[in-house]
């Protein structure tokens, strides 16, 4: 079974928009040219999901996320779609930035005593002009879209669930960002922040300085990803318009509602 985007009267429709949500993540995953690498998304089409990839996707889900079942996947997807995994990190700081002028922000950054926190504030100050007040929520949304693809490809998600999750994340992304570029930068800044936060000695001034100097572990991959996006004319972010496509607001599928009820019962 193959899921392909239908072609309608309009050249680009909401389904193209949905599938473009995963484009930054796909670009990031195309890190090598081999065909056997577990993480390698080389060759994965931007706007089509082929179930022949199910093995690769399943391996990725198990290896990187420890997902082996339907419930595992839904649990992760829920936190990604609601941006509560990493996307809400520094949420307050991004809001403060939006409410301040650059000079006021500078003063705010200098108030704190903790050099690590001061460094994180500076990180917010330098990334917010690109990400907007949504901060690094694009990191969760892009991963969520990518994993929803993976879930469909390896059969853990139904098409109805796949569409609902995409409609939910698409509406959130549309409300948070102004353009594909801003969304992509949000994803990459989130990735940088995550790369910094996973280091054992992250909360040291030296590591924070590295973060601000762009010397974080994933920087090179991010730079390459940005270049790839710019260089690949097939990347849908170049042609699927950010504005002008009506995005549907789908109802929660019965299967997901049943899962939620089961989870609540289990908790009770």
């Amino acid at each position: 079974m193959t899921y392909t985007t239908p072609t309608g009267a309009a050249r680009w429709n909401h389904q193209h928009w949905w599938l473009t949500l995963a484009a930054p993540m796909l670009s990031f995953q195309r890190r090598c040219s081999c065909s056997n690498c577990v993480n390698c998304a080389q060759g994965h089409p931007w706007l089509r999901i082929e179930h022949e990839d199910s093995g690769t996707y399943r391996n990725m889900l198990e290896r990187d996320w420890g997902i082996t079942s339907y419930d595992d996947l839904h649990e992760i997807l829920q936190s990604l779609a609601t941006c509560s995994m990493h996307g809400e990190s520094l949420e307050e700081e991004y809001s403060h930035y939006a409410c301040m002028t650059p000079a006021a922000w500078q003063q705010f950054c200098n108030q704190g005593q903790d050099p690590v926190y001061q460094g994180l504030l500076r990180f917010v100050g330098l990334s917010a002009p690109y990400t907007g007040r949504a901060g690094i929520r694009g990191f969760d949304l892009a991963r969520g879209a990518y994993m929803t693809r993976a879930g469909l490809a390896c059969g853990l998600l139904s098409q109805e669930e796949f569409e609902f999750l995409h409609s939910y994340m698409a509406l959130r992304a549309k409300g948070m960002f102004d353009s594909w570029h801003q969304y992509t930068l949000s994803m990459f800044f989130g990735r940088i922040y995550w790369g910094w936060s996973t280091q054992d000695d992250a909360s040291t001034p030296r590591r924070v300085e590295e973060l601000l100097a762009g010397e974080c572990p994933v920087r090179e991959n991010i730079r390459l990803s940005m270049q790839r996006i710019a260089a690949e004319p097939e990347c849908p972010m170049h042609f699927v318009p950010w504005d002008g496509i009506e995005l549907p607001d789908l109802d929660l599928p019965a299967s997901m509602r049943a899962r939620e009820e089961r989870a609540q019962e289990a908790q009770a």
């Binding site: 809001s95 409410c99 650059p102 000079a103």
Partner: protein, 695 residues
């Protein structure tokens, strides 16, 4: 004499009359000049007040207290100019504490009920001054009662709470578990200062004040807390309907900005209104916010107007930030220039900002050299693309003059910068009013302003300066402390030819880190020695510093010599310029004329006249030529340099400076003939110098 006679009034129960009389009499008997009279007056006042309090207590038993009627007018034009009540003199603690505390609370109630006075800090200060004269027990009672009373006026701005917070020691309530929530509320409240000017608010009626504060204060608080959701909620509920003061417009603009809502039709009337305010009313931050609206609403004319205002008010950072915002999506080259202006004027964005920005630019081998240079500076902080001024002449760009000026500033070559500033400005075709290039030019010139001022002073000291290098005496403590560690470090990085023994001293004192200096010198691209060390046949003597050297020669009337000077000597002058600059800087850095004299081998300033100056140049040239070349292993192959040296000696002799000059030159030859050996065996600094010269 009765108490009423002492107070100068008839017997009365009216507290305000007694206070007024007391204040009146107090002017004539100060406690320091007339202690007995003061004591008499004080006693009379206290007795009169005690009688009033007793009467009130009697009334209180009969009926519950009524709120003191507000006698002040609700609206007055004179708010703020009304004289504040004078504080009472100290009151000993005792029986009347409770009643005095009650009186103060009544006064507080009156203040809070008076719309004209409650927003006047001086009124509160006066009230607090009176409170401070009471016993500690009474003050404690007032502190508690005032904190509770304030809760009836929650709509008032936090300024009032802030004024009372410390004097009434409300912070102490935070430590009391029973009062903690109250104290936390007060603490939160006091941080939410009024969004509208208090003196303007004080002129409004009670109802109007309340309405204004109810609509704008929550908005201001939400903005202050960065609570975007609440801002959105308030604005969607149309809590803000009318505008009477420009501060309201500013607040609304800031809220829209936080919501990323830049609506041309709604913003422009507010911006127009704000622009009508008198000059200086808008702060740099206000102008920046307005400018952001101009940019986002695509209003170029307004954006330039705001940039002009920012520059007039000496805010180049905000001006460059606005211009960058405008040009970033429009003109790659200009935005690079403006990005650099932001950095140079103090924008503290971390390197990663520019890494991200890098993605927005397309830079390839075909891109102009100037753009490569600019991008390097933005993304890496340094560039090797333009290492000497000679390259500037090869760049055929309509903005070469800007480039040269900026390059000189980045290279720290003050003489070159001055020369550029003095050149008649040839504006390129596109460099017209209200064009981005016009502002780049203005911003670069703002950077150069301190250099111009410093060099104007330098010219006045020029005749007093001689060879600043090896003969300079060691720095004394005062001189070492004249500059901070950062300044010394910067100085040494910029000027390699600073006397070595100075550098040793600085290293010993921990003022410079030789390794860091060396690393910076290698990355900054300001390495005249490297140019010097290149094959002399290339004759690269047209560099920035050589121009500065010839300029110095011209300034000392030695123009013909400098023009005819062999290339090595010119290069030596180049080095002299670098050697002399730090001394000038050092001298200009709060060092007195006496200290200058000490630096110049103890010779008084008057003794160094115009005749000696050309000689000093020649000696320095020779000194540096020999020093550099003798430090090289291939000295013998370069014997022609000795011929150059002899030529210089001859020139010195023929210039009429006499035997002294010859002796000095011979002394220099003898001294520096030993340099190669000592250089190899001595300190790391020497070896690093050798390394520098070898490139």
């Amino acid at each position: 004499m009765s108490i009423w006679q002492t107070l100068g009034i008839d017997a009365t129960r009216d507290e305000s009359t007694i206070r007024s009389a007391y204040r009146q009499q107090l002017r004539d008997c100060h406690p320091e000049t007339d202690p007995e009279g003061f004591q008499r007056l004080r006693d009379a006042f206290e007795q009169a007040m005690a009688q009033t309090a007793e009467t009130e207590q009697d009334v209180a038993v009969a009926a519950p207290p009524e709120k003191t009627p507000v006698t002040e007018p609700l609206y007055t034009e004179q708010t703020g100019t009304e004289p504040a009540p004078e504080p009472s003199a100290p009151v000993p603690s005792g029986e009347g504490d409770s009643s005095r505390a009650s009186q103060q609370m009544q006064l507080m109630q009156q203040l809070l009920d008076d719309p004209a006075r409650r927003l006047d800090r001086r009124q509160w200060q006066s009230w607090l001054d009176t409170c401070s004269t009471l016993s500690l027990a009474a003050q404690s009672q007032i502190s508690h009662q005032a904190s509770v009373l304030m809760l009836d006026y929650r709509w008032l701005p936090g300024d009032l709470v802030d004024w009372l917070w410390q004097p009434l020691d409300w912070a102490m309530l935070l430590r009391d578990q029973a009062q903690q929530s109250l104290a936390e509320h007060l603490d939160y409240w006091r941080r939410n200062h009024s969004a509208l000017p208090l003196n303007w608010l004080a002129q409004q009626s009670h109802n109007r004040q309340r309405a204004l504060l109810n609509s704008f204060q929550p908005l201001s608080a939400a903005l202050q807390q960065g609570n975007i959701g609440y801002i959105s909620f308030l604005l969607h509920n149309d809590s803000v309907t009318s505008f009477e003061h420009p501060s309201q417009a500013l607040l609304l603009l800031r809220c829209w900005r936080a919501l990323d809502f830049f609506d041309h039709d709604r913003a422009m009337p507010l911006l127009d209104w704000l622009l009508q305010q008198p000059p200086g009313w808008l702060s740099a931050d206000d102008l920046y916010v307005m400018g952001e609206f101009a940019v986002r609403c695509n209003n170029e004319k307004l954006m330039f107007h705001l940039v002009d205002q920012l520059l007039e008010q000496q805010h180049p950072l905000q001006a460059s930030q606005l211009l960058y915002l405008w040009y970033q999506p429009r003109n790659q080259v200009l935005s690079c220039w403006l990005g650099l202006q932001m950095k140079r004027h103090g924008d503290a964005r971390a390197p990663m900002f520019w890494h991200a920005e890098q993605q927005l630019y397309t830079l390839d081998e075909q891109s102009p050299l100037a753009l490569h240079w600019l991008c390097d500076l933005l993304w890496q902080g340094h560039s090797n693309h333009i290492r000497q001024a000679q390259q500037l002449a090869e760049i055929s760009d309509c903005h070469t003059q800007l480039l040269a000026l900026q390059w000189g500033l980045m290279a720290g070559d003050q003489a070159f910068v001055t020369r550029q500033l003095e050149l008649p400005f040839s504006a390129p075709v596109s460099l017209v009013d209200h064009d981005g290039w016009y502002y780049v030019d203005r911003l670069i010139r703002l950077q150069a302003a301190p250099v111009s001022e410093q060099l104007a002073r330098w010219h006045t000291l020029l005749p007093a300066l001689g060879d600043a290098n090896a003969e300079a005496p060691p720095l004394n403590d005062q001189q070492l402390q004249a500059l901070g560690a950062v300044q010394w470090q910067e100085l040494v990085i910029r000027y390699h030819a600073l006397p070595e023994h100075w550098q040793h001293q600085l290293t010993e004192r921990g003022l410079i880190n030789p390794k860091a200096v060396q690393a910076m010198q290698q990355t900054c691209g300001i390495t005249p020695q490297l140019e010097w060390e290149q094959d002399a046949s290339q004759n690269t003597a047209t560099g920035a510093a050589s121009e500065s050297a010839s300029e110095e020669s011209a300034a000392t009337g030695d123009e013909t010599e400098s023009e005819q000077m062999p290339e090595h000597a010119t290069n030596a002058l180049l080095l002299f310029a670098y050697a002399a600059l730090p001394l000038y800087w050092f001298v200009l850095g709060d060092v007195s004329a006496d200290q200058v004299s000490q630096l110049l081998n103890g010779a008084p300033l008057e003794a160094i006249d115009g005749l000696w100056l050309p000689l000093a140049y020649l000696l320095t040239s020779l000194h540096l030529t020999l020093r550099i070349y003798m430090a090289q292993p291939e000295l013998k192959k370069r014997s022609r340099n000795l011929l150059v040296a002899l030529g210089l000696i001859s020139a010195t002799l023929f210039s009429g400076s006499g035997w002294l000059a010859l002796m000095t030159v011979l002394h220099q030859l003898i001294c520096y003939g030993e340099l190669p050996d000592s250089g190899k065996d001595s300190s790391d600094k020497d070896s690093s110098d050798n390394k520098d010269t070898k490139g």
